[in-house]
Subunit: 473 residues, 2 copies
Amino acid sequence: MAMPFKIQLLNTKLLNNYHYAKDFGHRFGKSTSYLIKYLLDKSKSEDLHITVGDLDIGTAIKLIDNHENATAITLDVFNKKSRADAVQNADIVISMLPARFHIEVAKDCVTYDKNMVTASYVSDEMQALDTQVKRKGLVFMNEIGVDPGIDHMSAMQVIDRIRAEGGKIILFESFTGGLVAPESDNNLWNYKFTWNPRNVVVAGQGSAAKFLQEGTYKYIPYNRLFRRTEFLEVEGFGRFEGYANRDSLKYQSIYALNDVKTLYRGTIRRVGFSRAWNVFVALGMTDDSYTIDDSENMSYRDFVNSFLAYSPTDSVELKFRHALKIDQDDVIWDKFEELDIFSPSKMVGLKKATPAQILQKILMDSWSLDETDKDMIVMYHKFGYELDGEKHQIDATMVTLGEDQTYTAMSKTVGLPVAIAALAILNKKITTPGVLRPISKEVYDPILEELKSFGIAFKEKHVPYLGYNPLNA
Amino acid sequence: MAMPFKIQLLNTKLLNNYHYAKDFGHRFGKSTSYLIKYLLDKSKSEDLHITVGDLDIGTAIKLIDNHENATAITLDVFNKKSRADAVQNADIVISMLPARFHIEVAKDCVTYDKNMVTASYVSDEMQALDTQVKRKGLVFMNEIGVDPGIDHMSAMQVIDRIRAEGGKIILFESFTGGLVAPESDNNLWNYKFTWNPRNVVVAGQGSAAKFLQEGTYKYIPYNRLFRRTEFLEVEGFGRFEGYANRDSLKYQSIYALNDVKTLYRGTIRRVGFSRAWNVFVALGMTDDSYTIDDSENMSYRDFVNSFLAYSPTDSVELKFRHALKIDQDDVIWDKFEELDIFSPSKMVGLKKATPAQILQKILMDSWSLDETDKDMIVMYHKFGYELDGEKHQIDATMVTLGEDQTYTAMSKTVGLPVAIAALAILNKKITTPGVLRPISKEVYDPILEELKSFGIAFKEKHVPYLGYNPLNA
């Protein structure tokens, strides 16, 4: 009897070293639920044995749920021996650890000749292993979750098809958002945290967002990022807005978009979110670079007031409205009241916290998912191209709804591509060696096909070429 | 015959490694003119010999102007031997090098038992020498230019006097600005570069400005820094505005302001400057963290357009006005037109330049001093205090005008305190050892007294205590 394929899964318990991490791990760290379900469901027919390693063996035990083809182990990725043992004992390693922990695992995989899969961006350190990985004939598949992941695959499938028809890509825009499902969408921001809240609070910080519009490089500083959105309409789901991601330009080389005139990647929110969010940005409440004095004993109101000028008489509310030029009847106002940020009795209660950490805490009061809430992943691609001297455009959209709080849309869209890729590598359907992204036909065609059977599918429609020309709209 | 006191002056040629540095060095690097003049004038009566070291001996030769009590030498501070020789051969070392170069000189001064004077902020590395410096009985006097320098001395003189009278300081605000003199003030911004332009362009970037207002910590993010100004009236010179410096809180410990409720330090500009400057901040044109693609071949208009949304029809002017909500008849508009930032023919001509570098170049077209232009230093302190159960306030102001482009207000207010301090240390009038700031009576009293004879003097007036209460105003 042949030995089963041994899959070592490194679980993503260590989401973040921020003090809410534990809470998030509990509530949001379920990106592996679908991944594990898929592998266990296939374990008999595909002859798999899955070992789930976690710093907390309790989590691992829970995840495998007494399945006969799975083992739970304690795994401390910082312990060299613990890590090496786990890697050595596997045919393939799936690392769902936080991105910065992949590299040590990857080095072990090189040492012990193991293939590897991650859903994270290829780091410079990871990329540096490419020569060694190729020399050993190994496959290190990265960026194969949802964003990055499904975005790569679905975009490259259309791009390659257009090219095969002789078309030239002149525009590529791509938006993704993790949102609350319409049925659970019951606050004024039309938003709840369906993933690590910290990433939402600090999104867009750092250097300016850069992209290409009709051949011109464009730059948006953080303070204007949430004021330069564009609208997206998704059939059956209504209107969304997108704000620019920081890193659009790097996709030019990854996708070989040599003739592209417009290249823009963005994040999807419901319409109105960004304009309101910009108030936090403008006041400095998303800053994560310094700590607020005596943050522990501040009320939410004190926190807001620390970003407003002193006045012995004017209310925090009026100063807030005045500073941000918010009219009394502006719909944005209700959004802030809903968050109860002017409460003099709700306490921050966090020691030496940054503004971003405090804001996160305040938002978690309002934007945490209820037990019965469901999430949603929305993706929107625009492909503009020239063919036979004419301009065309294809818009492709995908919406995935979560089933419950275990089998979320996030865990489904992240976990399934990872799992499918891991199995395809084991079965030698994906064989091209190297430190890879899922941008080749060999990879994206079978995976996208299989994702359809799980309801993850894109709707394409031909639209008039709009480009970035408002007169065309 | 006794040997003369030997003063080693390290000249400030190396202003900046930015490619305009040479130009600035030429035009603005004259901070040593007054310093050298003072020392040479005193060289006979005080028996001094001044050695001026510069990387470019031509500069040093020019500075000493064949004076019998001075020598010019080539000095490369990065050359260990060159540096050590210069230090060894001196009784006191004055370093007018850029701040980051002081530390190596300081270490040599420790090694060879030499006193030292700088006009720069005490770095952590410099502070770390304190124990050694004290053990050797040396005086390392720092922060003894204008800001820091005259601000410390003039503030501490009043603070100590109030304390001696039994008063308790509850408010301290201090503003300084390097501006163009009224007679040369002929542009719409009421501003010209009288010092390193780069520092003006990147001013306020980084972490939020922090200060205390009536007992509450207040934080202003960069994107709002230039919108939260306060007005200052200086008799005979009209109205100014001040925006917050980043570092107000550290003065609480330096000045031992234990009971202070309001602590604010700011930079002075003419009224209206900050509101207009904020447009550059809002658009991201002051960002120094990334380079603009193909910056060399951009026109000024292209540069501005890269921060505005694409449109095939709308003018850059209209997009600019719309994005910043600038009405057609807003006075701010003329300021931008005056800078010619919408010119399609003026070229940036800088390779791989950051937005900040490009903006600096554009501003230097308009804000460079003409040959006959004079500069001005303005300082404004507010001291609020309680005495016998009542609140009082003293406002102290100082304005120094430049004489010409060699003997500028900047060189006078920076150079004279440095020179006077150096002589006082040589003459054992300042003896307390350590890495110091000029905040003790031993230091500030004689120096401020002597500065008066050069026309650098403060006008004090008692005003009703205003605090930070607009109702009191």
